[in-house]
Symmetry: C2
Subunit: 418 residues, 2 copies
């Protein structure tokens, strides 16, 4: 049995808005699974080796629940356009390059490394439509030590000549992909790009595959007003964007819908009723001039909200920075909107970026017993203080501010990734 | 004569919205002053040593025209409050520590280093009210190679018992400070904190000192609605915040006013007429839930707009990131406001962060002949590309995205600071 024991200032988010902090505490894992968290190390571990991080912070690592791996080379480029123009000008042409598996290998290896170095250990990722490159992406994420989901993207319309499949090809390749998956910690997720990219027949078939193989689903929803109008014109029998997914059965408690900036009360109720997850992507939503998602209302209404970088609509891979972006997005709404929906606190936003997705990994929030030991060790000793700061204050500061190279170690399933 | 010649991909902002780019170009300086920028090195430099940065970017370094040096230890802390509560809870107690000149020396040395390492070489800084610590701040900035302005803060009311001077003390200490300044590149600037901190008598005296000694002036204006109301209650004879400065003569073409979030058309016209500079501080304005300054309107109306980090209301020292924040702030307004005021482009925002303050340094925009050679050398070779990127695209990406340790060198007055 492999025992890992870390010592330091332990910070986790066991519930929305609450932090659990153990100063000079211990976290112990057996074969990667947390068995103890607290102030007094149980006797049974007395003779085990302890990795002592002294006064450093040991915090939950991040879950980035929406990012586009083949857009990684575009990070920071082309952010003067809004969604639909941006897709055609930058995103689709770049994704088309991933027909080249050698290029895919090179990009995806670097992406995986970048995620880990920024303290992201759990992900839900869109690949491109290319089956073999998708398998390479899964392989690279697995090798880097990440856990989560990757989807071969399905798109049988509106992708342009270099980024489109026929319906038949899309289904056939999806099955070939699913039958070829071998990674243990990176699992497949059914990924219709978004309604405008998928014919009704394709949506129907994907729903059938998801049901038969018990797979989760991810897509985009109500990111932008023009997109909503487009969907309505494609599905004139609907009043809401979500219905285009729901009517084909792509709408359940293992469905992740990115953005939901313009999801009104009815659409939000449909999410709540089905248990669909909202993936909030604040960096992307401001970069592409999409808007500001009603996260406070969603949380008050009982929806599951998680966080995503949405690379490359989002321009930052660090989930520290994306957590700060979520807070800023909530402040924008609090400034602007009558009745001032309450801003997200640091601990609330951190929960969205970590614990909120735990059910999707068959885990529970926080550093709970039975969870994988996924953690970031962060050194802030070089930052100058005017007075003694509590661990909570140091943790809150870390969301906004870290020195370069402040992340000293990242653990996934108890394994030190660097 | 000391000759410095740099070779690389040279990017500057000679006018608002325009970039001047020389791929594999040269920039030559004699005794720190730029004498040539272009593609073909003049014959006279033929036998001089050239520092060849190869395919790296050589861009103008940044001017951070509003930051609070003694708030540096608070960076990233306490951002759940709005302005007036935040001042009393976090800012004033921290500033009071700067009575201790040893602590001031330690903090200011680190701040100066942090500024340089992030590519900021020109500044306009608020110190605290402490004269000796202010002189230490000037000394540390000078030694680090920065240029610009530092002000001993004046506040004879509403600072609490640990951070207040009498009117007489404030004036006397201001004169002692001015008579003790010895730094060559860091110059004094008259700095009434803001109207609520300064009695009428103090404002009047400061105006007299500024006039007699021909000094620039910096303060805060219309950051927050409660603050505006407070000023109106203190100056019931005014309709606008700016009048509280103008009526005492603190309002001219060498005056910097931070924020101006709620400056209406009349207040903006008063700025335009007097040549007052607006210092836009987008990171601070969202962090403290202040709001979104009407920058596009200000520019269209012909105001001088420059950029500031406003540490520690702002939470990021990097002016790359603050430039991106200015773009995001403009997008917020473009999304929200009827008639959609045009967002700032990357090159427009970069101009605000660099060239827009050149007059205050007796220089002209861009890498112009006669300016000091102030530059950042930035390496982006490790970032993966899907296709060949132009220098312009790489420059735009750098505003949003840089690898850790991407800044390879920073020059000020032709001197390599690191």
């Amino acid at each position: 049995m492999n025992i890992v024991i870390l010592k330091g200032n332990i910070v986790s988010a066991p519930s929305f808005g609450n932090l659990e902090i153990y100063e000079n505490g211990y976290i112990a894992a057996e074969d990667g699974i947390i068995k103890y968290v607290g102030s007094d190390l149980p006797k049974k571990y007395k003779n085990c080796e302890i990795t002592d991080y002294k006064d450093q912070l040991i915090m939950q690592s991040f879950a980035d629940m929406h990012l586009h791996a083949p857009q990684y080379p575009n990070l920071g480029i082309g952010l003067e356009l809004s969604l639909l123009d941006w897709l055609n000008t930058y995103t689709f042409p770049t994704e088309a390059y991933f027909k080249d598996t050698g290029f895919a290998r090179e990009v995806y290896r670097k992406l995986a490394e970048d995620l880990v170095q920024n303290g992201t250990t759990r992900v839900s990722v869109f690949s491109s439509l290319h089956t073999d490159s998708t398998l390479i992406l899964m392989d690279e994420l697995e090798k880097a030590g990440l856990r989560g989901f990757v989807g071969k993207v399905n798109m049988d319309r509106n992708g342009g000549k270099d980024l489109e499949e026929t319906t038949e090809e899309s289904i056939r390749e999806t099955l070939r992909w699913l039958d070829s998956c071998t990674t243990e910690n990176i699992k497949p997720i059914i990924t219709p790009r978004f309604t405008p990219s998928c014919s009704n027949e394709l949506l129907k078939e994907l729903s059938k595959i998801a049901r038969e193989r018990d797979l989760p689903i991810q897509s985009h929803l109500s990111e932008n007003i023009s997109e909503q109008e487009w969907v309505k014109s494609l599905h004139p029998d609907t009043t809401h964007y979500y219905e285009s997914y729901k009517k084909y059965g792509l709408w359940n408690e293992k469905t992740l819908m990115a953005h939901c900036v313009y999801s009104d009360k009815e659409e939000r109720k449909a999410m709540k009723d089905a248990g669909v997850y909202v993936v909030h992507c604040p960096s992307s939503n401001i970069n592409l001039s999409s808007g500001f998602a009603p996260i406070r209302e969603m949380i008050d209404e009982g929806l599951n909200v998680v966080l995503g970088s949405d690379i490359a609509g989002g321009s930052i891979i660090s989930m520290f920075a994306n957590t700060a972006e979520a807070i800023k997005c909530s402040k924008e709404r609090s400034i602007r909107i009558e009745g001032k929906p309450k801003m997200l606190s640091v601990s609330e936003a951190f929960y969205l970026a970590t614990s909120a997705s735990s059910t999707l990994f068959n885990e529970t929030p926080g550093f709970s017993k039975g969870n994988s030991l996924d953690a970031i060790v962060l050194d802030d000793q070089n930052l100058i203080n005017a007075k003694h700061l509590s661990v909570r204050e140091r943790f809150e500061r870390a969301i906004y501010r870290r020195e370069e190279n402040a992340i000293k170690a990242v653990y996934s399933k108890g394994r030190k990734l660097f």
